[in-house]
């Protein structure tokens, strides 16, 4: 079954994918840049970094991203999900400008316009261009329910 048009629920899933990823990465960046420089000689320090507050918040947001991302990939192409959720970068800029009152240069506004145009190009198109294994999902589901 090919999904040509997205339902409201599916659009909400894509919004979650778009918003959680950039916010999660921003939290990770804030957390990691506040730590002392890490080297490959001490790989365990990377694991310890995961328990600092900003990195932990970033990880929580990325878990939300991953759950919605898996759901989206089950009914849409990778190339569709990747492009349709690119406006998450735009959301970060808009939040920074309107909520944090950070200045946004002309070039960044140009980037916002180009990304919006790019998403506008792909979003109305088909979300799935290849056949899925829907017919296989019932046995898998029964297998899951029986365990």
């Amino acid at each position: 079954m090919a999904h040509q048009k997205l339902s409201l629920y599916q659009s909400m899933v894509l919004i979650l994918v778009a918003v959680c990823a950039p916010l999660g990465n921003t939290c990770l960046a804030k957390g990691m840049t506040s730590l002392p420089e890490l080297t490959l000689a001490h790989p365990l320090a990377l694991f310890a970094a995961a328990f600092t507050p900003w990195v932990a918040l970033g990880i929580a947001l990325l878990i939300g991203f991953f759950a919605s991302y898996l759901t989206a990939l089950s009914w849409a192409d990778l190339s569709y999900v990747m492009l349709a959720t690119a406006w998450g970068n735009v959301v970060v800029v808009l939040l920074a400008h309107f909520c944090l009152h950070e200045p946004v240069s002309f070039q960044r506004w140009l980037g916002v316009v180009l990304i919006t145009l790019g998403v506008g190009f792909v979003a109305p198109g088909p979300s799935r261009t290849i056949q899925t294994a829907i017919h296989d999902s019932a046995p898998l589901a029964e297998k899951g329910a029986s365990q």
């Binding site: 629920y9 492009l83 297998k143």
Partner: protein, 136 residues
Amino acid sequence: MNLTSLPVLSAGFWASTAMLAAVVLSSTAGEVLTAAAMKSIGDLDEIRAHSGLKGAIVAILTCPLFFAGVFFMAVAFFALLFTLNHLNLGLVGPATASLSVITNAVAAKLFLKENVDRRRWTSAVLICIGVYFLAH
């Protein structure tokens, strides 16, 4: 021009390139493998409607491709943490985001046999340039 004198390339040009390439390639491998897994499983919403959340979770956790994808995503995650510790977010974010758009589109066409048509390529190029401008 001495590239290592640039603030964003304090780790050195080739070291910076290697770190960014590691993030992009491992991320692309993870996303393609995960997408292949989800395609083989089928629509999660239908599975959940048929056998509940537990059935959907078990369907995912019994798919070997999913774990291969998660492995590469984990590699990409720690490569990102390591890279962010050496390079500015202003470079790492846009570079990995814009390059991933292209590598994912190519990988989706080559390995997942998706129909990446003119509409999607146009969108990919616009988004790639847009992300580049966002960084400046």
